[in-house]
């Protein structure tokens, strides 16, 4: 009698077969994922009997990790295509992610030894990464192949760290910059200024006189119009004001916060007074989704990123431009924040990865492509070129930033624990911006938070 498959028998067979498959999969060595640059892979077109290709032509696979919005990703895609076109033996596997997810992914990759060969790097985290030894020391390559004087000096020194240093500024080079984003940028609404008959912001503007006067004249609460969005955002705005008043956020030994000192406090009070004493600022909204400046109802916007030029390009309905950052009693200082690229210290192809790095941030092709984004290029000559300044969508005032950059540009104490102390001090100061505490109290809280982070670097439990 023929043995037919009963349902029961079929289930048992499926179970046994499935179980066997699971056990087999568990036992087998995992196959390599997308090329991670861990082992050189010979191009598969060669038949087994051919000799392997000579070393200089050997196919190399690199991974390139980066974050960015759509515009940035397009630029990176074009850079990668251009590089691959001129280097046919190199394949680049791209790992682009939005800013939020990029760092978590990178940490996990580093922990599992699959870090990308070339990774976009932020000054926010470079200090920590150098301390952990996960980024490659670029001195040997830079000395041999690069002329670093092409770059804006502070843009390069920010990436230099001495062994065990808490903050950068000198020592070995651990990344190369691709831009010199200016974190103290004054955007202003030309149409509103024209309507009120007020002269545009000029070189000589100061915070307590010219900015305040213009803001008062341009505030009309009945029409929902504000003279400004006060410079209360972290990193760049009040930071540079503190410098302009002769203060510092952190003391020279990089171990405690100094926002409660009179000179720093004076700067913070100016911001506070804009909001609560003179009522010329749009109310701070921590969960702001849309930048009020884009609605055309705000005359001046003190931004902590010139990258917003890209976002503002699409503004219709009013004219806008960039002006020079206003001065304080001690002069004018803007904050410069580079973004750059590092190489993984565990990369299997340091030479090739450095070649890609050089193409992206040093050679003309890569630098010009990147300059289309809007942030100030790291290379001085490109930043001064007509081509850059006349890029479509750039406001006429863009070239004024050259002067800001050339004069006193400083960077915001980038080093270990940066993200943590900036976030915590920002939260502390928000108590003042939201009117819950006085500036003195909030500054004290901010100092306490900063001090705790800086003194607990690497040792702190939370």
């Amino acid at each position: 009698m023929a043995k037919t498959w009963t349902r029961r028998a079929l289930l048992r067979f499926a179970g046994v077969a499935g179980g066997a498959a699971v056990l087999a999969a568990c036992g087998a060595t995992p196959t390599p994922q997308a090329p991670s640059g861990q082992t050189p892979s010979v191009v598969a077109t060669a038949s087994p009997t051919q000799e392997p290709a000579p070393a200089s032509q050997q196919a190399v696979s690199l991974t390139f990790g980066a974050w960015g919005d759509n515009v940035q990703t397009d630029i990176l895609n074009s850079i990668v295509s251009a590089y691959e076109a001129s280097h046919p033996n190199v394949t680049i596997s791209k790992q682009f992610a939005p800013w939020d997810g990029y760092w978590q992914k990178l940490q996990a990759q580093i922990a599992s030894n699959t870090a990308p060969d070339m990774m976009m790097m932020s000054v926010a985290y470079i200090g920590d990464f150098v301390a952990k030894g996960v980024v490659l020391n670029l001195d040997p390559f830079a000395e041999a192949k690069l002329d670093l004087s092409r770059y804006i000096p502070v843009d390069v020194s920010t990436w230099r760290f001495e062994p065990k240093a808490k903050v950068g500024g000198k020592g070995s080079l651990y990344a190369l910059p691709y831009d010199a984003s200016i974190n103290s940028t004054l955007f202003y609404n030309k149409s509103l200024f024209d309507k009120a008959g007020i002269a545009y912001p000029s070189d000589s503007w100061t915070w307590e006189k010219d900015v305040l006067e213009a803001a008062k004249a341009l505030t009309d609460t009945t029409a929902g119009q504000w003279g400004m969005i006060a410079p209360y955002t972290a990193d760049g705005t009040w930071t540079s004001m503190v410098w302009e008043y002769g203060g510092e956020t952190i003391d020279p030994t990089y171990s405690k916060g100094t926002l409660s000192e009179p000179s720093a406090l004076a700067a913070l009070k100016v911001v506070y007074d804009y909001i609560y004493k003179h009522s010329v600022s749009a109310p701070p909204n921590p969960s702001e989704m849309v930048n009020p400046f884009t609605t055309g109802k705000v005359a001046m916007f003190f931004s902590n990123c010139d990258c917003l030029i890209g976002t503002f390009k699409d503004i219709k309905g009013f004219e806008w431009d960039i002006a020079r950052w206003p001065k304080g009693p001690k002069g004018r200082t803007v904050e410069l924040e580079p973004d750059g690229y590092s190489l993984s210290s565990s990369t299997k192809h340091p030479e090739q990865a450095f070649d890609l790095l050089k193409f992206t941030v040093y050679d003309d092709d890569g630098v010009l492509r990147q300059s289309k984004y809007g942030t100030f290029p790291a290379r001085k000559d490109v930043g001064q070129s007509e081509e850059y300044l006349k890029s479509p969508g750039f406001p006429a005032g863009k070239k004024l930033q050259l002067m800001d950059v050339a004069e006193d540009a400083r960077s915001n104490y980038f080093g270990r624990g940066w993200m943590e102390w900036v976030q915590k001090s920002d939260q502390a100061l928000q108590q003042a911006w939201l009117g819950k505490k006085s500036v003195e109290e909030a500054a004290k809280d901010a100092d306490d938070a900063i001090t705790k982070v800086l003194q607990g670097l690497g040792e702190s439990l939370f």
């Binding site: 028998a9 289930l11 048992r12 499926a14 179970g15 046994v16 499935g18 179980g19 699971v22 568990c26 760092w103 978590q104 940490q107 996990a108 580093i110 922990a111 920590d128 952990k132 996960v134 929902g224 109310p283 909204n285 921590p286 969960s287 989704m289 849309v290 009020p292 609605t295 993200m419 943590e420 976030q423 939260q427 928000q430 108590q431 939201l434 819950k436 690497g458 702190s460 439990l461 939370f462």
Partner: protein, 297 residues
């Protein structure tokens, strides 16, 4: 010819275990494993890339006595649970009763209430962020139409958490409604008939027939709601990033921040275990007191 081996392999117990194997392997590696690993990590200081360092009960001690923000996050979460669970269940119950009618288009209504449940929390949160905007949001516009003062909603520390609670309750209504509805339809009609013969009005029938008969389901829904509301994260991450001024920093959000923004893996693991202990305590408590109010036939 069936051998003893094939007989063994084809026997029912073996087939059962083999069919269970994939799930067991998955649970072991991807759930139980990480849970046990987190327990071990909670006794260490570790930032993912440096070698981990044993600190014993240091993280727990820090949580209880050194870190004010951890206390704030637990209090915020408790506030959230104590409001959203009762309000959500009462509203779902009323909704379920309302949906339990044989009117035309009732299926459409039920679907409409269930839609928020299956929508992504991130999408819902973004939508409500716009509704809550102090200047351009619809809600303040509607308040203005009724000459009511506008609220700062998510921008003010005192209104931010209630704003998030509203979103969560609105979102969770449909889920509990569907479960309670199923329970409602299981109540035998004879009980209602007997009650009305005895002179019970609508309210009486609801309190003395519907509620007792539904009590096992209400218990089930309560246990689930408490557990899931202790774990609120999506709304606080998308809408307020824990602010303003830490008003909406819930425990899971704080765990996320400690682990993935500041890379204090040990501390975050310790926080997770304390949260687990609290949820466990609440659940056991509920099981304890069910004897006094849940009616099983």
């Amino acid at each position: 010819m069936p051998t003893r081996l094939t007989e063994f392999l084809e026997s029912e117990p073996v087939a059962a275990y083999v069919l269970l194997l994939p799930t067991i392997v998955g649970l072991a590696f991807f759930t139980l494993g990480p849970v046990l690993a987190a327990l071990a990590i909670s006794f260490m200081r570790w930032d993912l890339t440096s070698p981990p360092e044993w600190v014993g009960l240091g993280n727990y001690h820090a949580m209880l006595s050194l870190d004010p923000l951890s206390r704030i996050s637990f209090v915020n979460t408790l506030y959230y649970v104590v409001v959203t669970v009762p309000v959500g269940i009462v509203l779902s119950l009323l909704l379920a009763v309302a949906m339990n009618q044989k009117i035309r288009g009732i299926v459409l209504y039920r679907t409409a209430y269930f839609l928020p449940v299956i929508s992504s929390t991130v999408a819902v949160s973004l939508l409500w962020e716009w509704l809550y905007h102090p200047e351009y949001g619809l809600l303040n516009y509607l308040l203005g139409l009724f000459t009511l003062p506008p609220s700062k909603w998510l921008s003010d520390p005192s209104t931010a958490m209630p704003a998030i609670m509203i979103v969560s309750i609105w979102r969770g209504l449909g889920f509990n409604m569907v479960i309670l509805l199923a329970g409602l339809q299981g109540v035998p009609q004879e009980l209602y008939d007997a009650a009305s013969i005895d002179g019970a009005g609508v309210r009486s029938r609801f309190l003395h027939v519907t509620l007792p008969m539904l009590s096992p389901i209400i218990f089930f829904v309560t246990v689930l709601s408490v557990i899931s509301s202790f774990q609120v994260f999506d709304q606080t991450y998308v809408m307020t990033k824990g602010g303003p001024l830490n008003a909406t920093t819930t425990v899971v959000f704080y765990i996320f921040r400690q682990a993935f923004e500041w890379f204090h893996m040990g501390y975050a693991s310790a926080l997770s275990y304390v949260l687990f202990a609290i949820i466990l305590a609440f659940t056991l408590l509920q099981f304890r007191i069910q004897r006094s109010w849940v009616y099983y036939e």
